[in-house]
């Protein structure tokens, strides 16, 4: 177990890759808690959406809060699963297993951009 409340190192590592990327670079972080059915479904749905809408310009990190519980505070995670769009700014959050693709696209603001 790491230190509470935050482990800045881990956060730095997580965001380092997106720090100097351009506007087209999408950095997504999916918070899950263990390998539950919802988590698995969420990750699969996310991958499908990204492949379809953001081919080649996305990056997904999966944070398992059972392993890193201290990370929940940083992104104000309450619900699981939660997808956080770190980049492009501003931060957006989408909760749920992303089975409702339309809502997921609205949440990630992919829909207006696409159409």
């Amino acid at each position: 177990m790491t230190h509470y409340p935050d482990d800045p190192k881990t956060l730095d590592q997580l965001s380092a890759s997106g720090a100097n990327s351009d506007m087209n670079r999408w950095q997504l972080r999916l918070y899950v808690a263990g390998k539950t059915a919802k988590s698995v479904a969420a990750l699969e749905n996310l991958k499908r959406i990204c492949e379809h809408h953001l081919p080649g310009q996305y990056e997904i990190e999966v944070v398992d809060l059972l392993v890193h519980p201290q990370l929940a505070k940083g992104d104000q995670i309450v619900a699981i699963p939660t997808l956080v769009r770190k980049l492009p700014q501003p931060i957006r959050k989408v909760i749920g297993d992303l089975s409702n693709v339309d809502r997921a696209l609205v949440g990630l603001q992919l829909r207006p951009a696409k159409s």
Binding site: P69, A72, I80, K93, G96, S99, N100
Partner: protein
Amino acid sequence: MSVVTRNGSLTGQALAKAPTGIQGLDEITGGGLPRGRPTLVCGAAGCGKTLLAMEFLVRGAIEFDEPGVFMSFEETSEELAQNVASLGFDLEELERERKLVLDYVHIEPSEIEETGEFDLEGMFIRLNHAIDSVGAKRVVLDTIETLFGGFENDIVLRAELRRLFRWLKDRGVTAVITGERGEGTLTRQGIEEYVSDCVILLDHRVNEQLSTRRLRIVKYRGAAHGTNEYPFIIDTAGISVLPITSIGLNHVASEERISTGVERIDAMLGGKGLYRGSTVLISGTAGTGKTSLAANFANASCQRNERCLYLAFEESESQFVRNMGSIGLNLGRWTKNGLLRVSATRPTELGLEGHLTSVHRHVMDFRPRLVVVDPLTNFLKAGRQVEAEAMLARLIDFLKVEQITGVFTSLIHSSGAFEDTEVGVSSLIDVWIMLRDIELGGERNRGMNVLKSRGMAHSNQVREFLLTDHGIELRDVYVGPEGVLTGSMRLAQESREHAAAVTRRQDVERRRRKLERKRETLEAQVALQRAQFEAEAEELNILLKQQELAGDRLELDRKNMAESRKADGGSEYASRAPRNKGSKGERK
């Protein structure tokens, strides 16, 4: 509803309790909140829910060595720390000492899109992590209902809340969950149905521009608890609840007698003064000297080297001290050496329970042996009659239990009956001193009598009550055929009586002298008559002598004549012969 007074040991066995450390709350709940279970604290905005929850955590961390987690859904950690800093709680320090964790859960509905099935595992993980990081025994969730604004799916939310409370129980933490009061329900989202062990309702009412805070235990499963509404206040020392109605009539009555500070009043109270721990009411119309008399009580207490708390609701400390100087009471020296504490507040400054709590605090802090409330009537303006009486009963009970003598002044209106106090307090009072105006002959004077005094023979007489520059003096009033007289009428009557007495004395003197003269006259007359009598007697004597002399001569003459006649003397003359022999001889 269960009753308050129940055997403490019984409840102790039934349910383990986590003391809150909040003054009064542990008394009502019989030891604290149910240990290892969630408690719901609900109430309208601004009624002190967050503070109660925070005090529960902080006191738990400091006093009972039970670290805590405060999960806030409304205020950031910084805001919370600032809010309670005024109460002397240093949250940052507690966090450094690893006794407290503040976790601010921020939910921004505009940032969140729900896209399918989810749960609140994230919150569980955060909470679990926070609990583990300090080994917390106590948890606060403030206000969890905020979640309902953040998520659309109520069904999931409710299921998750149910799971959360179950989970908290399983973790064995004593939890406090706050909830906003809803219409017709205890909480807006009805979360009371998930929390079944203990529900505390806080209330904040405004009555005639005065706010009163109240606390009530709506439910406390498995334990006896007080069911009343208890007033509480929030001040610089946190929350205090006043469970004083739970005190029964079982205080110990002291046999010790203490002086009132006025010798003649002591004399009127069975000659020895008051019982310690008794309650004195000084009632009277405006300007009859209630404060002055009460100040004497205070002064006497300080002279005995006993601390006195003086609650002034009409005068500031300096004005009070100055004014009492004018009747020869130097109270300044007592305030300087700490024996006298004058607490001057406006009656409207606090609600009833605020006053009561402030008295409570002062008493606990200062430990006086005498408490003066001057005047009670103002004190009681801060609320309605029923509340006022209840509060006064609490105050008196509290003082009695602490063996503190209570002195209350009460203003009564001259129009009403003298015995009619503003508040129906007479039955609570042990000694009732009545000061009254006696208006006679164009002036007002003060009269005083002891209306009642429990447990002692007391004088039933009215005394005239004088405020002089060297203190209070009592005079016997003039009671005579012309009624009760006071002041200058008394003086006039006294001088009239004095004059009458002088006149009577002079009258007697005059009569005595007259009699004396009579006697002298009589004696003179007696002397005169005696003189006359003696003169007469003398005269008679002379006459007798003359007669005798004349008789002798006659006989002599007869003898001579007989001799000259040579006549026989006969027996008559012969027997006399020896007597006259000399003369006979002489005459030979």
